[in-house]
Subunit: 460 residues, 2 copies
């Protein structure tokens, strides 16, 4: 009976929900742009005030950057489960603004899509959680679980404030589950639960010769060339099977057989994949499928190379320095610090000692892998079937969400990554959108999920 | 008696010679800068008028670019030798002008050096030939050889006009020798005759994936990365002995044993070499000395690489394209067209067929090597000993002077590269200078040389 009332409340409220979401989306909370610092704070205050109005305790938690919004409702009691809902209220810059069909911060419903910066990443999905909470509180006067909302304003710029907060306070939350809606359904609109994220180790290598640029006729052949040297080093990163040729790189990888089996069962529309990538240059590690390469296998990709003369025409210069940026995506069992050491050793062993070598780590985050047998993941599957009409698949995500492994290690609870975007939602591009149908159905899913959070472990 | 009169004339005229040279140097004949096109023509006209006043037939020969100055004196008769004196009246841009001690086009004598743009490269050295010619004509009424002056205004921008002219008219000049003063003495002021120039084959390689830049988390591992691919190709250019690992690259190299022996006898001040290079990263092909590497051995040097993101900090982008510029310096026996084919084959064999590959040749010139037994080279050695007080060495030049092999193949006469610069003359840099002492003594050398040009071959 009470569940029916919750769903009825949601159905009755959708028009108002959309209007409220538009208010949220109108705030240009671009965390990367200092000119928008006050807007970012305004968005935090909007969240705080909105959840207070729902009946939660809410406060801003200051950080060295943008504030966190922490809201709690503990009325379900010690016997009930406690769920952390994490999301972010900051958004990507809207550039190039001219490429938007309608202005990025003037949301509108068009062709069944809610358009606007942040519609899917992540304000829209945060707001769906707020409405699921509201529906329970308004229809029944209570939540079926204790809820802790943790919203940050720095997800698009590295989550430094949240990570520091979690290291200090994460363990004290005492959560049974963490739910995050900041991802997407699978190709063709199949509901998807993210079972793994890759980590990252991003480094910059600079090789300097000493002195300035030299004429390649006068000096070439007798003066060492840092561009030749860099090419030699970068060219040694892979073998002919497109495997990473850094000694020890694959050691310790912990590929869960059940995850591998699930990935192998995930259907892939190859033509659709090429269309989304915009290229037919699809390939990678020998003997692995596309989805294994994306989700379960580590990489070493060069992001940028710069050396010498790159203008038009010929210029006969011997460069004085050569720089490359590259990163590894890491999978379960790979430690970023260890990979950094292996990479640096590989590089230094190959660069002539007469060069000056700088190897700097610019970013680092461990991988994350769900326990595919966790009750939390089992609990959500029938809800997705019920409200979205299709069986969910377990997918990986080749990218890195730095805060997820931090949540896993500090809050120490199973994590559910359950998102309502769709492939092609333009989440970092012009014309970002969220499906209006998934906005509605997702709130129903999340409302049901609140009533089905399993307790975690026996120690509590 | 007449030779004494020639030298006396030179000694008596030096103050005036310097003033005239300054007039020449004041003309900013920067061939690379269209804004100076009229100045370049003015310098050509200055040369034409100056040699006319000496008593030579002189004319401008129009080209698609800046004009040639062609001047002839054929009064020595059919039994006498005919010498082509080649030089250029255009100069390098003076930038950065603020780095000059005195303005680039306001020449002055300071600390025994004639300062000014073009002082050594090449107006000053061209002018030395003019004064050697003047001395003979003024002191004796005649030249000891037939002389054809060929001065161009495009040496600093590729010599296209002269090369076209030589292909049409070079063979008809009927010369016994070509003398070029556009080089320098060896370290420590040892007189030097250039016995070889390297050729060049300059290419640009671009590897494109199709589509735009992609997120390395979302796509990395399953989408081919052109930066990885370029690094692999460039990294395959050399083996561990720093030899070029392109199949067939060294085939056909014709290393004259006498030249090699001469290079091995050439003294090298290692510390001075490092000082001039501004670096201690000296190295190269295994088993070869520095001078062999510079003068007698071919190279493959990368001049520039550009791909992806090269700004500050990490950006997780999979580049859509990667480009490199590189060139080979070539030695006797290596044909630029053949090397281009070998390089392109090497590249295409290594790049995955799913990429789009562009391989373009941007510049090309064959190497040149003197016949070390040529009577012309033997004729000059005692003159250098007499006027400069030291035995000359044969040196190579690692660079390329594109017009030299064209002169060799069209005029078809031995070529003497005899220059009066000194190491560190700043010929393409601020504060370019020519030693005043070498300016004076060099005119004596060139005046004597005119009287000692050997006839070439027996066919004439």
């Amino acid at each position: 009976v009470s569940e029916g009332a919750v769903h009825a409340y949601i159905d009755a409220g959708m028009d108002r929900f959309r209007r409220e979401l538009y208010d949220f989306l109108r705030i240009p909370s671009v965390s990367a742009d200092p000119a928008h610092a006050r807007d970012v704070r305004r968005a935090a205050e909007w969240c705080r005030d909105h959840v207070r109005a729902l009946g939660m305790d809410a406060r801003l938690e200051e950080t060295d950057g943008h504030p966190l919004v922490i809201a709690e409702w503990r009325g379900a009691g010690a016997a009930a489960a406690t769920v952390v809902v994490y999301g972010h209220y900051d958004v990507q810059p809207p550039d190039p603004v001219a490429a938007w069909t309608t202005p990025p911060f003037e949301p509108e419903l068009r062709d069944g899509r809610i358009h606007g910066r942040g519609a899917v990443d992540d304000k829209g999905q945060v707001f769906m959680h707020l409405k699921a909470i509201e529906a329970h509180l308004a229809a029944t006067g209570a939540l079926p679980a204790n809820v802790v909302l943790v919203l940050e304003g720095e997800e698009e710029v590295g989550s430094a404030g949240l990570i520091a907060y979690l290291r200090d306070h994460g363990a004290r939350i005492g959560a049974d589950a963490v739910v995050i809606s900041d991802t997407a359904l699978w190709q063709g609109g199949i509901p998807a639960i993210v079972a793994s994220l890759r980590g990252t180790l991003y480094a910059e290598l600079t090789i300097r010769r000493g002195g300035g640029e030299l004429h390649s006729g006068t000096w070439g052949g007798a003066v060492l060339n840092p561009a030749n040297e860099l090419a030699g080093v970068l060219g040694s990163f892979h073998d002919r099977d497109a495997r990473v040729a850094v000694a020890g790189f694959y050691d310790g990888i912990d590929e869960a057989p059940e995850l591998l089996a699930r990935v192998r069962r995930t259907p892939l529309d190859r033509a659709g994949f090429e269309r989304e990538a915009g290229t037919r240059a699809i390939g990678g590690e020998r003997g692995r499928s596309i989805l294994e390469r994306l989700w379960l296998r580590p990489t070493l990709d060069i992001h940028g190379i710069e050396s010498g003369y790159t203008g038009p025409g010929p210029k006969t210069v011997l460069p004085a320095r050569a720089t490359a940026k590259f990163s590894c995506r890491l999978v379960a069992g790979q430690c970023p610090d260890r990979i950094a050491r292996l990479l640096e050793r590989h590089v230094r062993a190959r660069v002539d000692a007469r060069f000056d070598v700088s190897f700097r780590v610019l970013a680092s985050a461990p991988p994350w892998q769900a326990d595919p047998g966790a009750p939390l993941l089992a609990a959500v599957a029938p809800l997705l079937k019920r409200h979205l009409g299709r069986d969910a698949v377990f997918v990986g995500d080749g990218g890195t969400i730095g805060v997820v492994p931090v949540l896993a290690s500090t809050v120490a609870a199973p994590i559910l990554l359950l998102g309502f975007g769709l492939p092609g939602s333009n989440e970092h591009a012009p014309d970002e959108w969220l499906s209006n149908a998934l906005f509605e159905r997702g709130i129903h899913v999340l409302a049901d999920l609140l009533a089905r959070i399993p307790r975690h472990g026996s120690s509590r």
